[in-house]
Symmetry: C2
Subunit: 210 residues, 2 copies
């Protein structure tokens, strides 16, 4: 692995496990058994590392958001797709846990995050549209707008909520719970098949979380 990638991977692990605020560039260098000077040769401080990590997250998320067009035509597809998005967000959890503060500290990232949210909103809109066309979902336009807001908000703040409530659940359980919550937003608009899908999901969810 190239040194630059090794620095990014270790920084991300430290930020996610110990919190970003608690880590200095020197801490990162120590964790890598590297001199601060060598670290500085690759990244001019912690800010540059955070921006590079954001680059990586944004790149992955854009691929995920683009990759669905016309492909989500069933409840099951939608379910799996939610896992993919939430797992990507979970990989970058130090950022989402402390979203307001980090966006205030990095106005350039706040601009980019806003653009990414807008793209996520378009993907959700397209996805609901596809599910309607496949006769899986039944929604009038005002309700579709509300549902889009609800899904976007749930996907954005699940890690903040977990942090504020101080539960720090086991990661897989937290992702399951959040996917279940998002599916539970959509299912009531899926008619009879939504009802039975929710029952199957409830059963699955209970085996996963005890």
């Amino acid at each position: 692995m190239k040194t630059r990638d090794r620095i990014l991977r270790t920084s991300l692990a430290l930020f996610n496990e110990e919190g970003e605020a608690a880590q200095s560039a020197v801490d990162i260098a120590n964790a890598l058994e590297m001199s601060p000077g060598n670290l500085y040769y690759h990244f001019k401080g912690k800010d540059a590392i955070i921006r590079a990590l954001y680059d990586g997250f944004e790149h992955e998320m854009r691929i995920i958001l683009r990759g669905t067009r016309g492909k989500i035509t069933s409840i099951e597809d939608n379910w799996i797709y939610n896992y993919i998005i939430l797992e990507e967000i979970f990989d970058f959890r130090f950022f989402y846990r402390n979203l307001g503060e980090l966006l205030a500290r990095y106005p350039d990232l706040a601009m980019r995050f806003r653009t990414l949210l807008a793209q996520k909103r378009r993907t959700i809109t397209d996805l609901l549209h596809d599910l309607k066309k496949s006769n899986v979902l039944f929604l009038d336009p005002p309700m579709q707008e509300v549902l889009t807001d609800q899904i976007l908000s749930a996907m954005t703040f699940w890690l903040s909520m977990d942090l504020i409530e101080g539960q720090h659940g086991e990661p897989a359980a937290l992702i399951h719970k959040t996917v279940f919550q998002i599916m539970a937003l959509v299912a009531p608009h899926m008619g009879e098949s939504g009802f039975s899908a929710m029952q199957a999901m409830t059963a699955y969810y209970e085996t996963q979380t005890g």
Copy 2:
């Protein structure tokens, strides 16, 4: 008005309008046309003001959360009650807009906020229970838990979402939109009457927000 109350009222207005981070104790004293020494006689710095504002918010919110027991038995009651809660939160919006950062800075407030969230969760649970007993709402226990999480999360992060999306909508419109979103979470579980209530709310919402 007593000087202490005047300081709190002016500080809250400044924090809400200009953002808390941008205001120092000296700015607050200037806005009050008061010497910093006189301000210091009442509050030992900005931290003490923020804690006193939180005391007031917590006190009001506890009254609101306690005041409903057994009284919310219709869709309309629930709708009005959501307005009352969101308007209280809106009065304290500087805090909610910057929730993660403020809770990290004041661990004592983070503890109290967590307790308040738990109380809010109990109130939502009781409220859904009452609506079920009145045959307005139809939910199995796992779905009720999910719905409780969804409502709690929507009530906690609506101001953060508005800030992050950079929309800064007109306050009344933002409150309307959020109440509508919360009612839209509940209505699909209200059978036929939920459907017609949502239509009435949609019509009302559209007259309020254009």
